[in-house]
């Protein structure tokens, strides 16, 4: 029990550190950086709120919807700005449209799932992110640009594995503990990579605006 709590708190800590660091270096940075920063901010707000609810023993599952959908939207904007291919922009628009529409329909038909984990929602918001990350990494193979490499690598690994974890998470309560612990560990790794990203690429002030 204590073990899990420590992992969770370490995760929060790293997230918080990253939010602060990215806030400090926010001057003179391109749009993509600001999107990354807002992603971190958004996640920390949701984490904080869910923690508060958890300590008061209120059901905070509904926040997961905001987490997954918000993550999808914010990262879609990020990839919109960073992926270089004239097919990308219409694809991103299309996906945002399709995802929003299908979720809207789903909640309209069955509003009660608001208070439960929504597997479909997790899948359709995470899989595009995995695909976008993969495309991003492929585009970076012949490009000496270093920005966001660590972040996207971490994102790719984290979303891929955590999606599998979430999807398997509802089988039984025994599994739930293991799953959540694994998720915590992966999340810490993700945040560590985001920290390394900041340390390597964004620590110093950028003199030339290349992006």
């Amino acid at each position: 029990m204590m073990n899990t709590k420590i992992l969770i708190y370490i995760g929060y800590l790293f997230l918080l550190i990253n939010v602060i660091l990215y806030f400090i270096s926010r001057r003179n940075k391109a749009m993509a950086y600001k999107v990354l920063y807002s992603y971190l901010l958004y996640t920390s707000v949701i984490q904080a709120y869910s923690h508060v609810l958890a300590t008061q023993s209120i059901n905070n599952i509904f926040l997961s919807h905001y987490y997954f959908v918000g993550q999808f939207f914010i990262l879609s904007v990020f990839f919109f700005k960073t992926l270089k291919n004239r097919l990308i922009k219409p694809t991103v628009y299309l996906l945002i449209l399709m995802v929003s529409a299908s979720l809207f329909v789903q909640y309209f038909i069955n509003p009660s799932i608001y208070f439960k984990f929504n597997l479909f929602e997790i899948l359709i918001t995470s899989i595009p992110i995995i695909i976008y990350s993969f495309i991003f990494l492929v585009q970076r193979i012949s490009n000496p640009e270093k920005k966001f490499n660590y972040f996207i690598s971490g994102l790719f690994i984290y979303v891929l594995c955590s999606t599998l974890l979430f999807v398997a998470g509802n089988i039984s309560s025994e599994i739930k503990k293991v799953i959540w612990r694994a998720n915590n560990i992966l999340y810490i790794l993700f945040q560590v990579l985001i920290f390394i990203e900041w340390y390597r690429n964004f620590r110093k002030k950028r003199l030339i605006n290349l992006n």
Binding site: I141, P144, N149, I157, C161, L165, V178
Partner: protein, 263 residues
């Protein structure tokens, strides 16, 4: 109950293992990406360095040629013009101080005129060798014809040609480049190849200007000989690039030189 548990345990194990596998696979994928990235970027750097070196070599060749030309001009001016002007000066002084008889006076006068004419024609020749006026005024076609005629009358070499060039098809600078390339090729054939026959065709084919050149000299292979030849080729290369054209040159010992320029 026990059954349920062990089944659950199995599922838990399966899930854990599949997540670990997924983790492993994605890390492997990332490592693959980053290693191939490193390789590709190294290769591109190498390519760029090579291209840069090539450019540097061309610039070097241009500078060296320029200095050689200047030396030659200085020499020509000194040998042909300066000396003759000196003679004229001496003769003129002689006219004033010499206390000459009428006959000697006329003789010196005639000498001055003769040497002046020579100096004038040398100056014209130097200017013409540097940049034939015909090119400016009558265009590439006439300039090439005149060049070929000059060589043919000098009996140094016999040039056979077929030229079909629409007037003012290329701009003035481009015409100059083509002219210089032809000059360089002919010079090379005479000086290094010791050729006696050259065939030069400059025709319009498939929407392109095609210059084909063929001589019967000694030919050469890549590693041979003087810096001059290397320089000449580099200059031709620079000019070809400026023309946005393609240039190929082939040569075998004792089989002459064949060159092809497509614009």
């Amino acid at each position: 109950m026990k059954n349920l548990f062990s089944q659950e345990n199995q599922i838990v194990t399966i899930v854990i293992i599949s997540v670990l596998l997924l983790l492993l696979m994605s890390v492997a994928l990332l490592l693959f990406f980053f290693f191939s990235r490193k390789r590709i970027i190294e290769k591109e750097l190498e390519k760029t360095a090579l291209a840069l070196k090539h450019q540097k070599d061309m610039i070097y060749a241009t500078i060296v040629t320029q200095e050689m030309e200047r030396k030659r001009i200085a020499q020509d001016l000194h040998d042909d013009i300066s000396s003759k002007l000196n003679v004229i000066l001496l003769n003129s002084n002689f006219l004033i101080d010499g206390e000459l008889s009428a006959e000697e006076y006329t003789k010196v006068n005639k000498n001055i005129i003769k040497v002046s004419k020579k100096a004038l024609s040398s100056a014209r020749q130097i200017a013409h060798d540097l940049l034939p006026a015909i090119l400016e005024e009558f265009g590439l076609f006439s300039a090439i014809e005149e060049l070929i005629d000059d060589y043919n009358t000098s009996k140094k070499v016999t040039i056979v040609s077929e030229i079909e060039y629409p007037k003012s098809y290329l701009g003035k600078t481009e015409e100059l480049h083509v002219f210089r390339i032809i000059q360089e090729l002919i010079n090379n054939s005479i000086k290094h190849g010791k050729a006696t026959n050259i065939e030069l065709d400059f025709i319009f084919k498939n929407n392109n200007l095609v210059l084909s050149y063929d001589d019967n000299g000694m030919g050469f292979f890549e590693n041979e000989d003087s810096l001059k030849k290397g320089l000449g080729m580099k200059n031709i290369e620079s000019r070809v690039e400026l023309l946005n054209g393609k240039f190929t040159i082939k040569s075998e010992i004792n089989k002459g030189v064949k060159a092809l320029l497509i614009i």
